[in-house]
Every structure is written in C-alpha cells, then in structure tokens.
Symmetry: D2
Subunit: 350 residues, 4 copies
C-alpha cells in the first residue's frame, strides 16, 4: 500500500510500504477513505516530537471501512464505515476505567498515553491502518454524515469541547474568550454554544480568521494586534474579566493573555500545544481564585458530538476548506502548512 | 484602647488609639478576647503589601464579645461570643450571591476583595474592633469550644480545607501530598482526612515539622532535603504520581515540586502566598490532564468546620503552641517570626 | 391603596387597604408597575393552602419602583426600577449561606420557607408592597427590558430552569421530555436550550399548547392523548428512554408518565405543585439508576437569566398573551383561570 | 463439577453439573476459592425473579483462581487470584463508556443489565465459573487481602458506598441516617466515613444489629420500635432533618421513614430491593428541594475500595460471621436465611 512516511526532521514521502496485518485479537484493519492533517503533524515534521521515529506513518485522524477483524472483536464487522479516534483506549486499565482515555496505560507503544497513531504506531495517512483496541477506539458513522463532517470527530471537535469548553467549565450566561481562531479554537467557539454562554469572544491577530470565527458562532471578535485589545475584551464583561478564557495557540504570550483576561473565580483552559515553559505570575494570581486546566482529549464526548453532527446541530461542514486526493497529500501539507496564505482551515484528503 | 499599629516596613507598636465606633447599620463592635498572628502579617511588616497604609491596625483572626450592634443587625446581640472571619462579606453583591465571598465587591476599602481586616480597614490585634457586614462575617462560638480551638476557624482551618483540599478535589482513596508543614499545610493534612484519602504525605525540610505532621494525620512524611525525596513520594503511589498535590509554602521551588508530583489526571492546589512569578513547564504539562487551582479562602465551609470542631472530630487544639497576653503581643511576634527556632505553630494572644 | 385581598376559599376582591410601611431596617417599599398571576394563586383561592389567612394580599411576582428604603439598605435607592423575586432571602441564615434561598429561615412568617409574598405576608397584586430583605430579594431592571419580559424573571423563568433543567441535570446531547406545556413547562422547554440538548420533546394533551411549545424551542411534540404516545417519545431516543424527564403539571398521572419515560441512568425533575401523593413503582425502579428531584426555586440563577433576557438571547416576550390594567385584575383572573379557553399563557397587569 | 442449582421456587440443590468452558475470546474460567450468599439469592429462591430459570447456578460474589483464558484476554493470566464482580461489563457499549456498568448492554443474557451471574448466566456458587468480559469484570486480589475481606468487594462494599453514600451525596459535616443495619446498610455506615460526616445514625428494629452498627462506625443508633424514634433522630440534627437518609431494607415503610427524615435540601438514597410500589407524598415533598436516587451498583469504585481494604483502612473483616465448606452450602443458606436467629451477617463458603 501507499502511506506517508516520516523520515526525520523536515522529511516525509508518499511511500510504498507493506500492508498492515492483525497483530492482536482486538485489532481491526481499516481501508482509509479520508484523512486529514493536524497542527501536531507539523510539529512532528519539525522534529519536536522525538519519540516519533523515522519510518513511522503519520496521521491520527480519519474515516475508513473495516476490511478485517481480530478474533476477539464481536461488536464490529467487515464493511462497517467508521471514524478512527485520535485516542486508542484499551478500556480496561485503571485510567480507562476512570474515563481518562488520554492516558490509557496502553501496551502498544510507550506506557501512559492514549495518542499512539502517527506517534508510537503507524498512523492514518495511509491506504490501510491497523487499529488496536478497535471496539473502544472507532465509531460507526451514522447515516447522513459526510466524510468532511465525520472527520472532525476524530480530534478537532472533541478536543475543543473537552479541553477547552468542559475543562474551562463554561456555564449558561458565561462570557467566554477564545484566544486563537485556528481549527481547534474555532471548535471551542462552536461547541461552547452547547453551554449557553452570553458571549463568545474570539481573539486573534488575523482579521480573516476573526471573520470566520463569527461564522462559527463568536458573538464578538477582537484583533489582538490593537494596543487596547484587552480593554476591548473587558468592555464586553461586567468589568472584572471573562468567566472562561480558552488558550488555543500554544505560545507563552497567548497563554499569558488568557490568564490575564479571566475574572476572580474564573477558569483558564489551555488547549495549545506548547514548546516552551511559560511564566505564571503567581504573585498576582494566588489570591484570584482561578484554575488552569490542560490536557489531551479523552474522547468521552465523541459519541455525543457525533450524534449532534448527525442531527446537523453543529455546523461542522464549515471546517474543511480544501480537498485533495491521497496522492496529492504532499500538496495538502503545503497548503495546510501555509494556512494563512491559503485561507485554509482543515484539508480533506480522500 | 490599645492596638498593634503598622508604621511602615519593619515598624509596629502597641499604641493607644481611639475606640472604634459603629459606622454603618450592619456593623457591630467586638471586644477582643483572643487574637493570633498569620504569616501574612509578617509579609505586611516586610512592606510586601503596599495597600496596607501606615497607621493601620494589624490582624485578621480573632474571637471576641459583641458590645454594640448597628441598627440593621437583627440576628446578633450584645454579649454574643463570636469568631471573626478573615473574610468580610456583604452577602448581597454578585460574587457573594455565588459564594465567592473572597471577592466580595465590598464597599469598604478597595473593591473586589473580601479580606479587609488588617489590610484595608483596622484589624483584630486590638482591644476592640469594628466588624462590617457583621451578620455575614462572624460566627457564634458553640458551647465547649475554647479560644485556642475557635481561633483556628477564623482563617487557618477553612483556608487549608477550601483552597488545599477542596480546590485539590481530594476524593476517597486518593494519595495526597502536602508540600510545606506550617500551620496552613498542617490544616490541609488534617482536613484532607474528611475525604477519606488512602495516604497523606507531608513533605518539608524540617524533621520537627514532619513529626508534627504525623500527629496531625499524615500517614507518611518525606524530608525534601534528601536527594531522592521525589522518588520516595512516588514509591507511595502506583508509580504515576500523587492524585493531589497541595502547595503550602509560596516559593517557585515548592510550587514546581507540587506540579511535578502529580499524576496524569491529577490536581494541584496552591495555598502559598507567592512573592514572585513561577515557571510553569507547559511544554511538558499541556498533555498531562492536570489542573492548578489557587485562591483566597471563601469561608463557605466555616460553619461546617466549626461544627466538627465543636464535636471534637478535628484535633485543632494541637495548633496553638504558645500563649501570650495582649500586652505581650510584640513578644508573640518575635516567637512566631522565628517559628522554627521556637518550634512554634500558632500563638494565642488573649 | 388598592390591593387584591383573599377572603377565604373562592373569595377575593380589589380592596382599599392601608399603605404598607417600613417595618425593619432592611425593608424597602415599592410602587408596583406590573404584576401577574401564577397557578399557585389559583390553588390558594381553592383553599388548598391553609397557611394563607383571610385578608392576605395575593401575588408573588412583579416589577415596581422603589419609593422608600429602610435605614439598613445601602445598595438600593429610591427611584430604582426593580423586579421582585418570588423568594425573599435573608442572605444570612444557614440555608441562605448554602444558596438554598428557597428555605430561608426567614424571621418573617413561618420558619423555613423563602416564598412569603402572597403567602405569609402581603403580596404583589397591589399598588404598593413592602419588600423585606430587599437587597437580597430584588433585582434592578437592566435597560431595554420591558415589563412583559422582566416579570418572567420573578418566578417562571428561574423555576423552569433551576427545578426543571438544572435539577434534571440536562447535559449537551441529551434528549429531554417536558410533560406539560403550561407557562412553567414552556420555561423548561426554552431554558433547556442553555445546555445544548439534542432533542426537547414537549408532551401535552392540548395541540394548541404543543404548537406553542415548538415556538418556544421544542424540537418535537407528542400529544399524550394518543394511545401510543409513549412509544412516540421513545422512538425519538435510542430506544432506552429519555435522558431527562421534566414533570410540569402536578398530578399523579403526569408524574408517572415522566418516571416511565426515563432511561437507566437518567433523571426525573418534578416542577409540578402536587395536591395528592403519587405511587412510585420502586419494585421496578430500584434497579434503574435514576434520580428524582423536586423543589421550590432558589433564584440562584435569576441574575444570570436576567442578563440573557437583557441580551435578548431568550425569547421571553412570547409568554405574555393578555394585558390588563390594575383595576381589571378580576377579569385577568377570569382569563388566566380559564387559560385553555382563552389560549392564555401569562397575563400582564400593569 | 459441583454447583448449587436453582430448581424453581423454594428448590435448590448441590448438583453434579458439566464444567464450564470458554465460549468467547474475552472469557476466562475461574476455580472458585470462596463464595457467599446475598439477600438477592433469597429473593430468587422465593420465585421473585422470574428471569432466573430452573437449572441456573446461583451466586454473584466470589474469589477464585483463573484456570483458563480466552484468546482475546491479554491482561490476565492462568493462576491469577481474582475477585469476581457482581457486575459483568463489556467495557465498550454506550452505557459502559459512561461508567454506567450496571446497565451494560451486554450481549450475554437479557439486554440492559450488568448483573448476569446467578441471574441470566450461571453464577458463582460452584466449583468453576465462566466469567465473560473478564478483563472488565474481575479484580486481582492484592497481597495481604484474605478471602473474608476480598469477598466483600464483589458486591456489598461498592453497593453500600456507590448507591448509598455517593448517590446520597454525603459531604463532610453531614448528618447521615441509615435505615436498616443488615450487611448493605452496615456497608453504608462504614463507607460513609470516607466523606467525613459529623454523625452517622443507624436505625433498625434489632438492638443486636444496632450494637454491630456502632462497631462499624455509627456514632448513634436509634431503635425504630420506639414510638419517638423519629424525634430521637431529629434531636441529633439541627432540628430540620438529616442531610442524607439511606434506605437499606426494601419495604414501603422503611422507604417512607427515610424520606421523612431528610431536611430541605437533603438527599435520599435507596439501596433496598423492593417487591412493592411505595407511596410518595409529593403533596408535601414537591416544595422540599430533595432528591431520591436508586440503582444497581456500577462498580466504578471497586478498585479504590479494594485499595483501602488492602491498606486495612476499612475494617471489612467484621462482616463474615460464619464459615462453611462448599459441601455445607445448604447449611450456609439455612444460617443466612435466618440471620437474626444466628446473629449472622455474611457467611463465607470456602
């Protein structure tokens, strides 16, 4: 089969490689119908993720059709059209039993992490994929859900919702600020609506992204290039700060922006993938009764979000801006890697 | 009357000052029976808290007897023996209505903070005190509760419980580490028992304090001066870290110790009063599904804790190690300010 | 002044009575601008509420202007336009400190209940009202909120939201059934949207009310006069039952309907005012992992709901179907008491 | 092998039957080392549970050693000493993914229930047992845990804790009443300590059981045969009722006792297995802001409780009062079925 191999920092190619085979009774093999690229894939290509070894097939999102099932699989069948979750969960370990699937003590790859596709085992930017712990790691695609909709459920939608909105404890009536209007920030903008906020304020440097944020449900937008951007956000609150600030970029500067926006008693949720430590002004903050949450998606809400997608209650079709065939995957990387220039959000490879 | 006045960094004295008078219908006047000193008072004396102006009477803890009530006070009477809470709450503003008494939008002193005694208005290290919003800010002393027990309820006990144990989300079966075995750390050690932890591990540099922690209910202690202190703590868990790490010192080093001890899915609660920013290794932590909480006590649990104290279900009598009369208050400061040397915990001035 | 006096079962009249006066420092006097009638008023008139004594002025909802303030009132002023809450809360007692305002241990009237207007003290169907504990019991009307909108915040909106939606623990993606599409049921239909349900199913015997439920946000409606009504509801779920069933009528039959609709692991919330005991089939239910909640509104969410009303994010203007002047109040009772005949929902008297 | 077969109402015998065999890749076979009898087994023998067909092997609690593993089992091995949970959970279905293991949509036996041993498939009162979904349904016995301790973890301990204490929302400082001091009631008495209550009051008709309740941690006991029993319970509260009332009998009378004891804002948790409907006085209760929860144990806390048992922090060794060999199992039923006469609590068959 063909697959996108990682060959060290800056190097990748669409290679001919052996087809995957069932290794454990709980595996299935999936023929990929659609995949996409995540910002994390770009980090890996920069060499930021040393546990990804050369030769690894990239990608952790996708939709496909089951072509083979292991002997221990009873609730999935050949021919099922399924969404592959970015998190592979054994369903049995202490962390899985607590719903902490993100830290599945998964015997595949390194211990202690549920994200293994395109990381610790071969991923989804390929014609075929072996899916371990399949019954706990794939979701049947409901009727009427397109590839462009379903693929959001692999990662982007639950990540924005669980790590941004739920870890941020959004409640009815809240004023929510989302710093960063890329795919995951827009997912937080969209899914925060599920908790009835009074205002959702998108903050970004790029006016085109802010315009898009309004399409995704932001009630207000503020360009953080303006000197008085923080006052503009505070003017949309009762003056003490937002109830919830969601960081969706991954830099020290944007993290500090989020922390400084939140009112006493409020919540900060960090979704951004950070490459550097940040400074936390505990000398000012210790007295402010805030909390700061962070993490990898648990996919506890994937089924629920998929149900809402199937009912067309979340306009997820707005995410895919560009489409490619599998053999155009390197072009897809080019577009996604220069998203601002191409006004790209998510690219669909199918 | 006599009271302890602050006269600029490093300067205080037991002065003759005018008696306080009722200023608002919701005030009461209390004749102090007992007071104590908090680590925060030492910070103020160093000049770290510039909003405390020279001339201010210090102190925010105490027990006394009501000698006069304002015209709007209906549920308290002259002669009532009451504990003064460190937090003064109007009971009416938006924050109070949400139970966020720590950020009462209190018309006395600066807006937005419920801690005003010995800070924004005159405090409790005095023979008489004016107590604003008295019905929401004092607690009648139940029968059988001594001064040495009741005074813990002003601040130390609810602070350790609410900001350490509750913000740390301690649950039955948890392994809890408390970094710092001073009064507030010991309060967290003691009150974490109210949520049925499997282990409470006290961590400190001072073996005398660790011995005391075991008296307060720590199941294990680790001296953090040992090179392998962290491994010793992890050996008491299933290997992935503690469920809850409580910081009760207030330095960058101890904060980082707490953050590094916690398992994926765990919780960090900061009680320490910090004078400097800290570095937060978000590059490692973004993926670990932890949260970090901090704040000033809300006193939501003060009544409940006082009930348990009255039933002698919390051995709070262990806190007071030294006693002084009011005119020995400067000596009390000397002992409390050099606590290690005197093996002092809380001093009772009465 | 003029006011609507209760004179024993079935008897009421628009009487000339003495003006109310300030009795306690925390009272204010309000000149009523608008009031309305609640189903509970009809119960009282039937004689179902024996603690309402003849001579009592009826009504517990309203909007007015403050004409006098007690000496202990600092945060309200003469001239303030305010909404009167159906719950009067002292803000100080043990229950108020826990946010259980519905059971304020209020020194006015009988102990242990926060609903006192038109019940234990004179109510709001009058030209002037004395409001006890005013700072905790009235809400300033934000700009742009009409009488017809603001009056919903006195009782109907928070009751549907707190006792129906929040006690029912509605979560994103849930299927919610509301049994009974009167004013409070419609409030639950409308406010359940604040938690992102996948479906809200209104169930009633009256097709006109069901049509209205669709205007208020019901995604589906089922007429319970049909033999297969329950199957029709279950067909809108995954087959196991609804996640949340809200009872908004107050009869044994509708309560049993709600209980039988709920899936294992689901929630029943009772808002209805019941006149008789109900039979609970614990022999079937003990194994089903459900809970059943009930109660009087706490008004913890009144400020939040009022904020959403002011932002026009909740279409509360749909509630008032008929308007009357104060001297037409008996006609208003006639219309509201025969709501189906007049297709009436809420009547505004102003 | 030998096993206890059910042969219709009132009939059971210790029969020679075929050994169980692996049927699915996720099964294991266990050689039983110890089992016990539950009140539910007595109900089945009365014929109250018609889905139990003649020929069924009884029992849903036990400890044993794995003698064979299915091909899909990777995390258990032959020779492992394990506790069998009363709930068999597939770990994959929608209910399991939400932690609602009690309603596992288990393909074995009838849909929608996780309790299948001795109910829908053959149970644990046998020399060998086939355990479906073994990785999610058994727990390795930690070192130092005896059979008499470990067997409590199959059912009694998590049922009392999850359905009584957690569904009753016990919080630090609460006054808790437990109506019924049989094994599950005593489990609730013991495990409520994990949430720091101020008082745990056991209520029963039998003074011997009340004496035992005090050994299990009840701070107070009240014999409900006394005319003033309810006043005696209320005298241990602040007068308004208990915070949490736990029903652990299963009759209309005891359920009503529990409901009537609870204060406004409090919680009722029903653990009892009921054979008849109960009357619920909604006419009085609708206004009292209580909730009533009920259900089958989910075993979400089994691992945590087992950890506390292994640390000897829960004195579970007090439960087993009588011991028998497997071939004395009918005698064991005789003693357990007449528990009061024999002063029996749990019987250990090993």
């Amino acid at each position: 089969m063909k697959a996108l191999g990682y060959h060290g920092p800056g190097m990748k190619s669409w290679d001919e490689v052996p087809d995957p085979v069932i290794q454990h009774p709980t595996d299935v093999i999936v023929r990929m119908v659609a995949t996409t690229i995540c910002g994390t894939d770009l980090h890996i290509l920069k060499g930021d993720t040393p546990e990804v070894v050369p030769g690894r097939i990239l990608g952790h999102e996708g939709i496909g059709e089951i072509t083979e099932v292991g002997s221990g699989v009873t609730q999935l069948q050949v021919g099922d059209r399924v969404i592959l979750s970015c998190i592979s969960a054994c369903g049995v370990c202490g962390n899985c039993r607590q719903g902490l699937y993100s830290h599945c003590l998964n015997p595949e790859g390194a211990a202690g992490i549920g994200w293994i596709f395109g990381h610790l085992i071969d991923g989804t930017q390929a014609e075929y994929v072996r899916v371990p712990f399949a019954e706990n790691s794939v979701y049947k695609v409901p009727e009427g859900v397109s590839d462009a909709e379903g693929i959001l459920v692999s990662d982007v939608l639950p990540t924005g919702f669980e790590i941004g909105v739920q870890y941020g404890k959004v409640q009815p009536g809240d004023v929510v600020a989302v710093v960063g209007a890329g795919p995951v920030g827009l997912s937080a903008v969209m899914t925060s609506q599920l908790y009835g906020p009074s205002r959702v304020i998108a903050v970004d440097l790029d006016d085109a992204r802010l315009a898009r944020a309004r399409e995704f449900g932001a009630t207000n937008t503020v360009n953080s290039g303006q000197a008085d951007w923080a006052q503009r956000v505070l003017a949309l609150t009762d003056g003490d700060g937002v109830d919830v600030a969601i960081e969706a970029v991954g830099t020290p500067g944007t993290f500090t922006m989020a922390v400084n926006l939140v009112r006493p008693g409020g919540h900060v949720a960090n979704i951004g993938v950070h490459g550097k430590p940040v400074e936390l002004a505990l000398n000012d903050l210790w007295i402010r009764n805030i909390d700061i949450a962070m993490g990898l998606v648990n996919t506890n809400t994937t089924s629920m979000l998929l149900k809402l997608v199937a009912q067309h209650r979340l306009p997820v079709d707005k995410f895919v801006t560009h489409e490619f065939s599998f053999d155009q995957i390197e072009e897809a990387y080019e577009v996604f890697g220069n998203a601002a220039e191409h006004d790209a959000l998510k690219v669909l490879i199918h």
